[in-house]
């Protein structure tokens, strides 16, 4: 199994480890709920070094990326980050990612751990098939350790270790600076819905960065956070997770990701399929549901309307904040747009669920 540079630390901290898409990762330290609450109230530190990093550089890097991703690169300046996606010709999603622009001809793609090899192969494939010449793809996944520092007091903690003016880094922007004397990409991004940073540093410095952050963060309530809370946190904010809301079988425009799908920017992989689908009218749409009775909706459970199956749950959990079962579900557009009552099929019973505006936790 793959291990991140911080694997030993997790074990020393007594984390419970799981196989996460081939990576030996911490699922929890103290407990999912406690960790969840820490991130919402103070701060949490995540080891996300399993994420993949792919560098694209060269004079045609821009054109190539503009062609292979769904979002519009032209509205991106140096030092900015963009949430975007790679799609198949069918419009289905290869992966979702954050794209970092260093210069007009140097970019870094941060992709999902379990997809990084698939993504890299896919990009190489496209490169062969197309006319783009002057650019190089480099898989830098092994070179980086990545930590996510998230929560209301994240900035206060980070400030103790860097001279960089954090207030100058706005949301979805990044700078290259030093943290605890380590060269680090400081990115004001995250996957929790809280303020915070994602920090990229050389793999060999990962342990030191972690220890320094924990040292200065403890007094401010910083806790190590596992994948368990990472998932409940993102779901409360209704962030899509690959393999759930978006898959090879689901178009971003079906998954409320129209905002990263710029059909007007010109041709890109998957665009034709999406245009066609849009013309025909999208059959499915992602909606948010909250169970009005007890019970926990789970991925794959069917959604019913007047006894008829009209869709299924893509992600579901018990919200630690709301103390209710919450779910994202992909359902027939007509039903999604109507106000007809919906039920989620939990085993043989159908539990009433009401539509909720996103995100679940404001």
């Amino acid at each position: 199994m793959n291990k991140t540079p911080l694997n030993q630390i997790h074990r020393q901290l007594g984390a419970r480890m799981v196989d996460f898409g081939g990576w030996d990762m911490p699922v929890q330290y103290s407990g999912v709920i406690a960790e969840h609450m820490a991130v919402r109230t103070t701060a949490g530190l995540f080891d996300v070094s399993h994420m993949g990093e792919i560098e694209v550089s060269g004079s045609q890097a821009f054109d190539f990326l503009q062609y292979v991703t769904t979002n519009d690169l032209s509205c991106l300046n140096d030092g900015q980050v963009q949430y975007t996606a790679l799609c198949y010709e069918t419009g289905g999603v290869v992966d979702d990612l954050t794209l970092y622009r260093f210069t007009a001809d140097r970019y870094l793609l941060c992709v999902n751990a379990s997809n990084s090899d698939k993504d890299f192969a896919w990009l190489e494939d496209l490169l062969k098939k197309t006319a783009f010449s002057d650019l190089t793809l480099t898989n830098r996944s092994a070179e980086y350790a990545q930590l996510a520092l998230q929560g209301p007091v994240a900035a206060n903690i980070l400030a103790k270790l860097t001279s960089t003016d954090l207030s100058a880094i706005k949301f979805y922007r990044f700078v290259e600076g030093q943290v605890a004397g380590i060269d680090t990409i400081i990115s004001r991004t995250g996957y929790t819905g809280e303020d915070g940073f994602e920090l990229y540093c050389p793999a060999e410095d990962g342990v030191k960065l972690w220890e320094e952050l924990m040292r200065v963060g403890q007094s401010l309530g910083l806790k190590p956070i596992g994948l368990g809370a990472r998932d409940t946190l993102r779901l409360e904010k209704a962030y899509a997770l690959y393999g759930h809301e978006i898959t090879a079988d689901i178009m971003p425009i079906e998954a409320r990701l129209g905002w990263i799908t710029k059909l007007k920017k010109g041709n890109f992989v998957g665009r034709d399929a999406m245009l066609k689908a849009k013309e025909a009218g999208l059959p499915r749409k992602l909606i948010a549901l909250t169970l009005t009775t007890s019970g926990v909706p789970r991925e794959g459970y069917p959604v019913f309307c007047n006894g008829r199956e009209v869709g299924y749950v893509t992600s579901g959990t018990m919200s630690p904040i709301l103390k209710k079962g919450i779910a994202l579900a992909l359902v027939e557009t007509a039903i999604a747009d109507s106000d007809q009552p919906l039920e989620i099929g939990i085993r043989k019973r159908q539990m009433p669920a009401e539509r909720t505006t996103l995100p679940f936790v404001k």
Binding site: D19, D24, L227
Partner: protein
């Protein structure tokens, strides 16, 4: 009638001995208002040749895996069956015998079952195996009941959504009225989501049930799941619907499973439209006395000669009645024999080699299909002889298109997995030649098969 030996003379002599004047009198205990006052409407008896002709007529209307290119799996597998098996199980000393209650004249059955129990233990990496259950699904349901019995006050069962749907449905039937709380563990990339699993585990969970390989042919990381499960004090049940995989991959026992159940049909039992198959059931020594089903044990006779008997019978319904570990009172005797003979023939080397052939053929098909436009392989993880593809063409139409060309392409997943409406489960075994696989790929691509 050729099965009824009585001559009129016999009948008369017997009636005289009984001291009644006719057979009717023998039924005097049956009140008139309970009598059927007309003949049974079943038509007249058919001669042997008429019967066979009629049944052949029905048989010929069916689609034989031996004539078509079949890529159907999903819990029933098309493997080759050596001629030896039917020849031996056709010995009527085996198949016309009853459950071996009289050990002195049942040593053949008893030794064969004892050997079967041993073979299953070796294959699964467990300590004790019973004399078999009805099938994999019911064995899995019985395993769930065992963990509830043995789990003291624990009443929750976590079922991976990667368990075959028919297993999950059977478990639901068996546990309907026993205050058991069944909870699904979602999948991530085609395997049990361990993050979700960790969130669901608690001191109320009696067992975690995982398919190995799972319904999508994926090899689950049992070792890591076992650690999580045991950390919460629950039992790990591994359900194996394609046991040939156990000849290649680490055994569930080695990976920490507490109970291993599964379906043995792959080992020399014909598909027969899905039954009879055979369920196997293996546990650790600690659970020996809460095991359901029959057990054969070794002992000695008066002269100190080795012999075999049914043992630990006090677990069973004919003694414990409503307190029994199960209501089961049969095993799959004939199928036990088929499986044991199959395993004896293939042995240490053959079974491994056969598993490798299945793996290589499936890998070949998977790669070919991956390269087709309009198709993608659904999940990236390790698979044995089955895998899921996603089709841009509606699956129902696709399947019918291929049926026109004599290809049974696979099983649509839409009904059991709403999020895999475009999913097709494809199985490739040693029975599928390269030509067959290439035909499948060509047909999928839209060309002639």
């Amino acid at each position: 009638m050729r099965y009824l030996p009585h001559t009129d003379v016999d009948v008369q002599q017997m009636l005289d001995q009984i001291e009644v004047s006719n057979i009717e009198e023998l039924f005097s205990g049956v009140p008139a208002d309970c009598r059927l006052k007309r003949p049974l409407d079943l038509g007249a008896a058919k001669s042997e040749s008429e019967t066979l002709t009629f049944l052949r007529g029905l048989a010929e209307q069916n689609t034989k895996t031996s004539d078509w290119d079949s890529f159907l799996g999903g819990g029933a597998y098309n493997h080759f069956i050596p001629a030896v098996i039917d020849q031996l199980v056709s010995r009527s000393e085996f198949y016309t015998a009853y459950t071996p209650y009289q050990p002195e004249i049942s040593q053949g059955t008893l030794q064969a079952v004892f050997e079967f129990q041993t073979l299953i233990c070796q294959l699964t990496g467990m300590d004790v195996a019973n004399a078999s259950m009805y099938d994999g699904a019911s064995a899995c349901a019985e395993a769930v009941l065992l963990t509830i019995r043995a789990g003291k006050k624990r009443h929750k069962i976590l079922l991976s959504q990667g368990l075959p749907p028919q297993y999950r449905e059977t478990i639901a039937t068996y546990s309907a009225h026993l205050n058991i709380d069944l909870i699904d563990i979602p999948l991530q990339a085609g395997v049990t989501d361990q993050v979700e699993l960790q969130k669901l585990l608690s001191d109320q969970v009696a067992a975690v049930v995982i398919g190995y390989p799972n319904y999508f042919g994926q090899i689950e990381n049992l070792g890591s799941i076992a650690e999580l499960t045991h950390a919460s004090g629950a039992r790990l049940v591994a359900a194996v619907s394609e046991p040939l995989a156990l000849a290649l991959y680490k055994s569930p026992g080695e990976l920490g499973a507490d109970i291993v159940v599964g379906e043995g049909q792959s080992f020399g039992i014909p598909l027969s439209y899905g039954g009879p198959g055979i369920g196997f059931f293996a546990v650790r020594k600690e659970d020996m006395r809460v095991l359901p089903g029959r057990l054969v044990g070794e002992t000695m006779d008066k002269d100190g000669k080795r012999g075999f008997v049914l043992t630990l019978a006090t677990r069973e319904q004919h003694i414990r009645r409503e307190k029994a570990t199960s209501n089961i009172c049969s095993n799959q005797g004939m199928c036990v024999l088929m499986v044991a003979i199959y395993l004896a023939l293939h042995g240490k080397q053959g079974l491994r080699q056969l598993a490798e052939v299945n793996y290589a053929k499936a890998a070949y098909a998977k790669e070919k299909i991956r390269q087709l436009d309009g198709f993608s392989v659904a999940f990236s993880g390790e698979t044995f002889n089955e895998f899921v593809i996603l089709c841009s063409e509606p699956v129902a139409a696709l399947k019918q298109r291929l049926e026109q060309q004599g290809v049974l392409a696979g099983i649509s997943l839409g009904r059991d997995y709403p999020d895999l409406k475009n999913g097709l489960l494809i199985c490739v075994t040693e029975q599928n030649s390269q030509e067959q696989i290439d035909r499948l790929v060509a047909a999928l691509a839209g060309g002639e098969a």
